[in-house]
């Protein structure tokens, strides 16, 4: 269980996060949604442990900041892509902590091979990571997070670089992780997809949490509409699944 209490974050003189309070239960999928600049990525980095915050953020009642004992995987939106590193090598970095120094273990090699298959990258393991397409890179990042066998996985816009086909593939593989007992926190700009996969949704605006709760509940709440300046409509499909659509300017329903 991750508990955030009165989290404030400033960078220089600029306030980024204000009085953020949240509880994120284990083995669930929580989605941070909101417009650009709402503070989603910053909150993700607080939970990762790399941003110095004021207030209290604990993971299983241990303070998060710079705690190297946790096993957290992070899938950034803008990774640094090293030149001259192969896909296999890049994904194998996920095993660095477990294997220690020296050559990688055989079980790590097997796990990486399996994960490359799962993410559709098997056969490309010798290619340079810098030569991958955006979608392949995204899958390599997720593969690297998967081989970490993490307790918690943080994903920053994991589907933004992907076409619909690969979006579904990636989201399904995250779903499998959740079933294996991994806690998932992701940011996502597509609220429909968020509602489809996530158990909980936290809506952020201007560094504050606007509302949070079970996905269905959040999606249908009027506050969501106001967060997006009333420019979205929420429909419910026959299956009961909500769909969020932007309104066309000047069109009133």
């Amino acid at each position: 269980m991750i508990i955030l209490e009165n989290i404030n974050l400033t960078l220089g003189n600029r306030g980024i996060l204000f009085d953020v309070n949240a509880e994120i239960p284990d083995t669930t999928w929580t989605c941070l949604v909101g417009p650009n600049g709402a503070g989603k990525t910053s909150l993700l980095k607080v939970i990762l442990g790399t941003s110095p915050y004021s207030g209290s953020a604990t993971d299983n009642s241990i303070e998060i900041y710079r705690n190297h004992d946790r096993n957290v995987a992070f899938v950034p939106q803008h990774p640094q892509i090293p030149a001259g590193m192969s896909v296999a090598e890049y994904v194998m970095l996920g095993r660095a902590k477990k294997d220690g120094w020296g050559t990688e273990s055989k079980s790590s090699r097997n796990l990486v091979a399996d994960t490359l298959k799962l993410t559709g990258l098997f056969g490309m393991q010798s290619q340079m990571i810098s030569h991958l397409s955006g979608g392949e890179m995204q899958r390599a990042l997720i593969a690297r997070a998967l081989v970490q066998e993490p307790d918690l996985i943080l994903l920053d816009e994991p589907t933004s670089a992907l076409d619909l086909h690969h979006q579904i593939a990636v989201l399904n593989s995250i779903e499998i992780l959740k079933q294996r007992g991994v806690t998932i926190i992701s940011t996502m700009h597509d609220i429909t997809l968020a509602a489809m996969y996530a158990d909980h949704i936290i809506v952020m605006q201007n560094g504050r949490i606007l509302l949070s709760g079970a996905s269905a509940q959040v999606v249908h709440s009027p506050e969501l509409k106001s967060a997006f300046d009333n420019r979205i409509n929420v429909f419910t499909l026959d299956s009961g699944r909500p769909v969020v659509m932007p309104t066309k300017d000047g069109l009133v329903d």
Binding site: L48, P76, A96
Partner: protein, 338 residues
């Protein structure tokens, strides 16, 4: 599933090949010199068999050539490994072990030892060069202030400290013009001072530094990512940077103290190994260390034989061989990336 589906990241055959190369080159290095000693006798004496070597030949072999070859190997591996590590830490392919002012600091230390009016500091030259190198890097750290938050600011302060040390050194040299030649010859690098005593202390310091670097080698790869990514992979990027720079500086300072300023090894060898294997990973570090050793033993063989019985400063050889090789690797790399 079978492990053969994914080959291991680093193929140890490459390392083994480099090691064999080093062995052959080291044997060559021991075999050549102004005094002719039959190769078979050398082999026999190394294998512990009766070699019929004269007292003088034995002395030449074990007290002159062998320590010199070992010192060349130690210095070569130290410079090559430190260069590779600096290139990763500063994300700069042109970083070399002398980047943070180590060379200029060592140069100043050596000049102080040489120009000291009482002259009795000459024997302490290695200690002065070593302290100068370490001091320059420490001062660079302090000036940059931000430590590792911004590697580039450390780089800049290293350059500033280096320029300052060079200025002081030049001033001292001007004041003691008789010291010009010894300082100059030291700057070009020389392995002539090789003795078992020098080999022993070099081996200790360089050995410790290299072991540390080999242990953190894999984590160094994490420095090629963003700090957040590295952190999430269980790597503490700032800690690794500090450890890596301290160890690389220790190795560099020792190499400089033992043999003066031998340029180019720290850039050429890492690029050579990485270029030929198409790998940037620091798993290549053991191979880079071995190749650096082989490179410098070979260069020293050249330094001893090209103008024999005179010496050619080894720094001239490494630059002369290094620069064209470097261009070749660069060009090759560019062709591959196209």
């Amino acid at each position: 599933m079978s492990g053969e589906e994914l080959r291991s990241i680093w193929r140890w055959q490459i390392t083994l090949f480099a090691a064999l190369l080093l062995l052959v080159i080291a044997l060559l290095g021991i075999s050549f010199g102004p005094i002719h000693i039959p190769f078979t006798s050398i082999l026999r004496s190394f294998l512990g068999m009766d070699s019929h070597l004269s007292e003088q030949d034995r002395s030449v072999l074990f007290d002159i050539r062998l320590p010199r070859v070992i010192l060349a190997a130690l210095v070569g591996s130290a410079l090559a490994t430190s260069g590779a590590v600096y290139q990763t830490v500063f994300r700069n392919p042109l970083a070399d072990p002398y980047l943070l002012g180590a060379a200029a600091g060592a140069g100043l230390g050596a000049t102080i030892a040489i120009t000291n009016s009482h002259g009795n500091l000459y024997g302490l030259l290695p200690a002065f060069a070593f302290s100068g190198a370490i001091l320059a890097v420490v001062v660079s750290f302090f000036i940059s202030g931000k430590f590792f938050a911004e590697p580039n600011s450390l780089l800049l302060s290293g350059i500033a400290v280096g320029s300052f040390a060079t200025a002081v050194q030049t001033y001292l040299q001007q004041r003691h013009s008789a010291s010009l030649r010894p300082v100059y010859s030291w700057i070009l690098g020389e392995l002539t001072a090789a003795s078992w005593q020098v080999v022993t202390w070099s081996a200790i310091y360089i050995g410790v530094a290299l072991i540390i670097l080999l242990i953190v080698a894999k984590q160094l790869d994490g420095l090629m990512l963003t700090d957040e990514e590295a952190y999430s992979l269980g790597i503490n990027p700032n800690k690794i940077r500090v450890i890596a720079v301290i160890a690389a500086t220790l190795a560099t300072a020792t190499a400089v103290a033992a043999s003066g300023l031998i340029g180019f090894v720290g850039i050429v060898v890492p690029h050579l190994v990485r270029g030929l294997t198409h790998r940037v990973t620091n798993r290549a570090l053991p191979t880079i260390a071995i190749t650096g050793a082989a490179f410098l033993v070979l260069a020293d063989l050249g330094a001893r034989t090209l103008l024999s019985p005179a010496e050619l400063p080894i720094g001239i050889i490494t630059a002369f061989v290094g620069a064209p090789f470097f261009l070749f690797v660069l060009r090759r790399k560019r062709l591959i990336n196209q």
